[in-house]
């Protein structure tokens, strides 16, 4: 990736991280860790000319779709959609509040730019498989992206969907696994070891790339290859750092589902600011 583009995307990512921290602090609850870990990938997807979408036409028929199967990470989705112009940024202040368009988990009937409602882990990839099948039947050349968690891979339904996607040769489906190594009760290897994760996807018939989920060259390379997959679905296993960009949150299990206080917010914004000039 060109340095210029890389720097632009890093700058966007820093802004998205700041939005995540600010909205969670105001909400008083929510999930920073798994939102921050996906920020570089979302910066690339939404601002790196990857997704064929138009914020002025959120229901455009041939748009690419994104399913955030790990729905609790919605602050990154909301931050990206707001930055993209799907709705006014002032809505970010209303996250999780009564009457807000930004629910605790994504709701397709409330938030422009959300392609399908998610929240209960394990269910989103199946919906993405259905969307990919539907698009193929419609003769649409669009791509369906599904973002799932590594903890979410504990769910049997993920593997049912993985089996079905390969069975139907869905090369219009791209899964991204946010392999941040943590879930609510601790390290995924201790709670329920999903390793060898990449090999499992391979065994299910998917084209697999394992990358550093914060390295823009690797992100671009893997997503572009996945878009060109032929005859089978592709998965990018993105090794990430939970809480990425906020030093005191990085790799700390407790920041899975806890909002920063006012002081913590200030400290976090400072961290992100420093990271931005990196």
């Amino acid at each position: 990736m060109e340095e210029k583009k890389k720097n632009r995307l890093k700058k966007v990512a820093a802004g998205l991280r700041q939005d995540i921290i600010r909205m969670l602090c105001l909400a008083g609850s929510g999930h920073p860790g798994g939102a921050l870990s996906m920020t570089d990938i979302f910066s690339y997807l939404y601002f790196g000319d990857v997704l064929n979408i138009d914020p002025n036409k959120p229901d455009k028929k041939d748009r690419d779709r994104l399913v955030l199967s790990k729905g609790h990470a919605c602050p990154i989705l909301y931050a990206a959609l707001a930055e993209k112009g799907y709705f006014d940024k002032s809505h970010l202040k209303t996250l999780r509040k009564f009457g807000s368009i930004l629910q605790g988990h994504p709701d397709m009937n409330k938030t422009p730019g959300v392609d399908i409602s998610t929240g209960s882990l394990g269910q989103g990839l199946s919906c993405a498989v259905g969307m990919a099948l539907g698009a193929r039947l419609n003769g649409q050349s669009l791509k369906v992206f599904a973002v799932i968690g590594d903890g979410e891979c504990d769910e049997g339904q993920i593997w049912e969907a993985a089996m079905a996607a390969a069975h139907y040769n869905l090369d219009n489906l791209i899964a991204i696994v946010d392999k941040n190594g943590l879930q609510i009760d601790g390290f995924t290897k201790d709670v329920m070891d999903t390793e060898p994760l990449a090999e499992k996807w391979k065994a299910f018939g998917w084209e697999v790339a394992t990358i550093d989920g914060h390295d823009y060259d690797q992100i671009e390379d893997s997503i572009q290859k996945a878009k060109n997959a032929s005859g089978r679905p592709a998965v990018v296993v993105a090794e990430t750092v939970k809480g990425k960009g906020v030093s005191f949150m990085e790799g700390v299990c407790e920041w899975h589902g806890q909002a920063p206080s006012e002081e913590e917010k200030e400290e976090a914004l400072k961290c992100i600011g420093e990271f931005k000039t990196d």
Partner: protein, 325 residues
Amino acid sequence: MDSEKKIYDNPRKVIAEALVDLAKRDDRVVYVSCDSSLGASGGPFNKNFPQRHFEFGIQEQNAMGEAAGLAVSGKIPFIAAYVPFAAFRCFEQIRDDVCKTRLNVNIMGNNCGFSVGPLGPTHVIIEDVGVIGSVPNITIISPADGPQYREAIFKAAELDGPVYLRVHRQEARRIHGDGYSLKIGRADRVLEGDELTIIATSTMVANSIDAALMLKAKGISAEVINMSTLKPLDRDLVLESSSKTKKVVTVEEHSVVNGLGSAVANILATSGPALLKKIGIEDNFAVVGEYDELIDYYGLTAEKIFDKIQDFLHREEDDENSNRL
């Protein structure tokens, strides 16, 4: 009783034909199955529209999510599986992916009630109306005969929202005429009367009509209502009929907990001055047996319905029933 020739329809065959006819006129219609479709309603569809038939094997949770995904892509999926797998295994997928999103996904619960009695209670589900009925946004259709099964398919596709269709295995005696038009949320008065209202659904409509004719021979005028939409219930007709007769009997091949009887009780308790007797299956798991044996054992034959109604009319104490609510 009557000398008229009775016509019977196989619900699965009726549905299979209706789906093909529907799919011919609407290319959005797709069929989703879970390794139990070809002998049920999916065979002819598969033959006519192989590209629009999606088989997901024994993965009902996955298949339900995929049906939701197909629906957001503009398709009208019909998904079929045995009731336990169509309604229970994937309950959360129904609730979140299909109902909360209000998608046009049509779920066919095959072999409801005692359809497959010999398989035992893992496969004999008598709680599906209560379980599915507890979810907002879904419509429950429980047809009584061939014309209703056929209409249910067309009307479910037309309705822009989720439908749960209960499909029985027993041959269904024809109650309605050929030109029958089903209106979702509207029940049909299939027999007029003014001393008693019998509200029944699915297989129990025919048995209730027979019971009502036996009552008629005894000089008792019973009205029979075919409640083919269980959610939303036809509140207006329940109130209209019960305010006339002051006595209501519900009959269902389903648990008396959270089925048709409970739904009618909810209406009568708040708005209707009428006595109610619920005829159905006790709050229990079904015993194993052939269909006719079970219908007899649980007191759901026309003769036993007739007996129970006579008891009710004589205002005999019914201890069993008083425990149920």
